[in-house]
Symmetry: C2
DNA sequence: GCAAAAGTGTTGAGTGTACACCCATGC
DNA sequence: GCATGGGTGTACACTCAACACTTTTGC
């Protein structure tokens, strides 16, 4: 594209940088948690943040987010969706950056965070006890928690937080961790079973010192809306 | 920010351009409609598109979208919210652009689209009869319609499509235009009145050749969730 | 036999849905 | 007095919320 006059030249002024940040949720020790990395150097050195990265010119936002998951957290093949785009002028003191936030759901038993060279540390963090965070990342986490809370009410999205096979009590614990309060066991079971999103396996979870529990699977391990 | 080594230099590679596109909904002749502009020149000359613009380095996305509304459609002071970010690699053949879509709701009686010099034309278009559109704008419109449909079920968002005072039948027509089918009058009134989002004025809409209808106002002309 | 968690039903309140007629006005 | 749209109530089905005891296992 040739630039021929000053009017058109305006259009090639460099705009904000474009980044993706990823909110990776899991349930860990009964608490809804997110994966945080600790920044090594620069103005945010020592602060905690969400894994993120610049969007390359030849990748879509989804692709860029997927690569962040893979490279910075070693996570692949999980449910991921776009959350919201954040653009406050001062959100990154190093330069004007617009960030598209994504969220992903993982089964923490399957993924162990590993520190990568250029981060000081990496860890799962209870979303209700966030440390001081860089950028507007606390706001992003809270926005993501709200979305997740809404979405468990009308979809099977929690499949992303559960292993292939699980008991109804385990599933209920996931719901309770997300909404932050206890649920009636009988009502929960009645409701979930009526949604027709689970199938009974004929296995049981044994090895506890109490009665074995039936194991269930999701009919579809992909997003299904339930009303 | 000084660039000191080749590793850092990578970070200043120019990424995708960042734009906002605005989906401006109204109800016009009983049909849910969007404001489209016709592109004058270039590879998309003659095609219809949503009003949009590049995001300047010193504006947030919300600000940039608000300015697009003001400058390209002459609309201000209406409900507006972020919809989604679109980033397919080939969405604009002129160059890699990521677009953050916004949607706004207006009362078509208050805004008359005016053609601006650099567009060939501008018009309200029924969302169920879209012309061939530039970029991925048809997808954006459909995404926006879906969001709007969902949102009228759990919020007072339709205030944006209605004048200050209106009859329940007018309000019902707005709902019907959005969901695309008729609703039972008695059930609609019972439901809406039970939500406690309207107040009765003591005026009536006269001048028709039938019985005058009571006029109502929204308690709050800002987004309120109703369940 | 006891501790621990799994599993199971009923009732009442509230909400959603289907459905038909009278009322106030203009002409 | 008739055409037009405004305005109203009831019955049934369904969903949601509250609530306590029995079953199966390990030790």
């Amino acid at each position: 594209m040739q630039i021929k006059n000053s009017k058109k030249r305006k259009e090639v002024i460099i705009g904000p940088a474009l980044a993706v940040d990823t909110l990776i949720f899991t349930i860990r020790e009964g608490a809804l948690s997110v994966l945080l990395i600790q920044i090594s150097t620069g103005p945010y050195g020592g602060k905690w943040a969400l894994p993120g990265g610049i969007v390359p010119i030849n990748e879509t936002l989804d692709e860029a987010a997927k690569k962040v998951l893979a490279k910075k957290a070693g996570i692949a093949g999980v449910h991921m969706e776009q959350l919201y785009s954040f653009s406050a002028l001062n959100r990154d003191v190093r330069g004007r950056t617009v960030s598209v936030a994504y969220f992903a759901l993982v089964d923490s038993d399957k993924f162990t965070p590993k520190t990568i060279s250029y981060y000081a540390d990496i860890k799962w963090q209870d979303v209700f006890a966030l440390p001081t965070m860089a950028f507007d990342h606390k706001e992003i986490v809270n926005y993501g928690v709200a979305r997740l809370r809404a979405k468990i009410e009308y979809s099977n999205i929690v499949y992303g937080l559960l292993p292939k096979e699980f008991t109804l009590t385990e599933m209920q614990s996931v719901y309770e961790a997300i909404i932050g309060h206890a649920i009636d066991k009988r009502n929960f079971r009645k409701k979930i079973l009526s949604l027709d999103i689970l199938v009974e396996t004929n296995k049981e979870r044994t090895g506890s010192k109490s009665r074995p529990a039936k194991l269930y699977r999701f009919k579809k391990r992909q997003l299904v809306f339930t009303n």
